[in-house]
């Protein structure tokens, strides 16, 4: 079935996710073996649309193709699935990213998670952090917080997801003074991580989401800490420290946290992601913020 993707995604943080959910609904209404998502020209999409869509499509039982002539989607490397750092030498990688220095977004980054490519992964993440920082002239205190938020999410992918690839995509909104960052994997989900623990008692996506956000480690090593405190610190830093918004999606469970809202939601089974997605809306003007104040 051909499915037109024509709606512009506005700046409301969850609007991108709502758009993906509508697409999932239509994909599931189709009885065809293959569906084609046809993006209209001039469509604007956000990180919380793009990465949940990529992860959903990569885990779908159906064959789903994209069709577009949209220059924005081209520029963010949507068609290729993102910039893969191990396929470029470092000067070419930096040259590729420098092209975005005057933009308000970064391209999709598709990084390897294995130890063999640690150097390439570190290089591109550092370049992305520098690029985001330069694009909107971040103050050093915010850059340090941004690094913390990105690195903790990426490290969780490397250590726990069993995913071969991780994804980062970001968009800034200079007039609103915030940026949206999405970090995703197509791994075994939070539930899959807990199921690998000895004596695990977590058996559903909702419990896994609660465990991850309420500090239960997936590490099974005596004395070793944990995914839990990293997530908790990130969320506290973002929500309390920067008045931002935090979204986590894994399996069919959605978790939202802001200063006013904390909500766990179970989506219908058709909206099940084979992976974990973290999205953050990060206000970036705050002179008194210090990331270290939120480490616990």
């Amino acid at each position: 079935m051909e499915i037109n993707v024509s709606e512009n995604i506005g700046e409301k943080f969850l609007q991108g996710l709502e758009g993906v959910l509508r697409l999932i609904d239509r994909i599931n209404q189709s009885e065809d073996k293959e569906d084609i998502l046809i993006f209209q020209n001039n469509i604007f999409v956000t990180p919380l649309f793009i990465l949940p869509l990529l992860v959903y499509v990569s885990g779908s039982q159906k064959k789903i193709r994209y069709q577009f002539t949209n220059s924005y989607l081209d520029t963010i490397q949507f068609g290729s699935g993102g910039i893969k750092p191990e396929e470029l030498d470092f000067p070419t990688l930096h040259h590729s990213l420098n092209k975005y220095s005057a933009k308000t977004y970064i391209p999709i980054i598709d990084f390897p998670t294995d130890q063999k490519h640690t150097r390439e992964r570190n290089e591109i993440l550092l370049a992305v952090e520098n690029l985001l920082s330069t694009q909107i002239r971040l103050q050093p205190n915010i850059t340090a917080g941004l690094k913390y938020l990105i690195e903790e999410s990426v490290d969780n992918i490397i250590e726990h997801s069993d995913s071969k690839r991780g994804y980062v995509f970001g968009q800034s909104y200079p007039s609103k003074k915030y940026m949206d960052i999405c970090i995703a994997d197509n791994g075994i989900t939070l539930l899959g991580s807990y199921r690998k623990m000895e004596e695990n008692k977590i058996t559903d996506h909702l419990s896994a989401m609660k465990a991850a956000n309420l500090s239960v480690s997936t590490k099974n090593l005596p004395g070793a800490e944990n995914r839990g405190y990293g997530i908790r610190t990130s969320r506290k830093m973002l929500v309390k420290g920067l008045s931002g918004n935090y979204v986590m999606l894994s399996g069919n469970v959605l978790y939202l946290k802001s200063k006013k809202i904390e909500q766990f939601m179970v989506l219908p089974d058709i909206a099940t992601w084979q992976g974990t997605i973290v999205a953050m809306r990060i206000p970036y003007v705050n002179a008194s913020f210090s990331y270290i104040d939120f480490v616990e």
């Binding site: 700046e11 969850l14 690195e151 903790e152 609660k210 309420l214 239960v216 990293g230 939202l256 939601m265």
Partner: protein, 122 residues
């Protein structure tokens, strides 16, 4: 056998930010046959919690390692204290994991979207 100061940034860079980086660092300096290691953090600009947690477990809590850390910034000290203090803390949260009345379960995507659209979350 030598006792020498190692500038950690010469091995990892000024940003210390993944568990893998700690393990690679351990492998590199283990090959250098030192019994006592002084690790210099003076040039570090950033350390993530994950890095410091792995570092704590591999270098500080490990009886086979004899390390001394020097030139720690106030921020690194705070991070190290935080990971030390949570090594054996086991949050009693089992009763919070199960489903409760505050969780929302949607039977359809349109129902989920209707809820999300109305949520003041931006």
């Amino acid at each position: 056998m030598k006792d020498k100061v190692i500038d950690i940034t010469a091995y990892i860079g000024r940003d210390l930010k993944s568990r893998i980086a700690v393990r690679e660092f351990r492998d590199k300096i283990s090959n250098e046959q030192r019994t006592t290691v002084k690790i210099d953090f003076g040039n570090v600009s950033f350390a993530s919690r994950s890095f410091m947690d792995e570092f704590y477990n591999i270098f500080i809590a490990n009886a086979d390692m004899n390390v001394e850390l020097i030139n720690l910034s106030a921020e690194i000290e705070v991070m190290l204290d935080a990971v030390k203090s949570t090594q054996h803390r086991s949050p009693k949260i089992a009763n919070k994991l199960s489903s409760n009345d505050y969780d929302i379960k949607f039977s359809s995507i349109s129902e989920a979207n209707k809820y999300l659209e109305a949520l003041p979350f931006s």
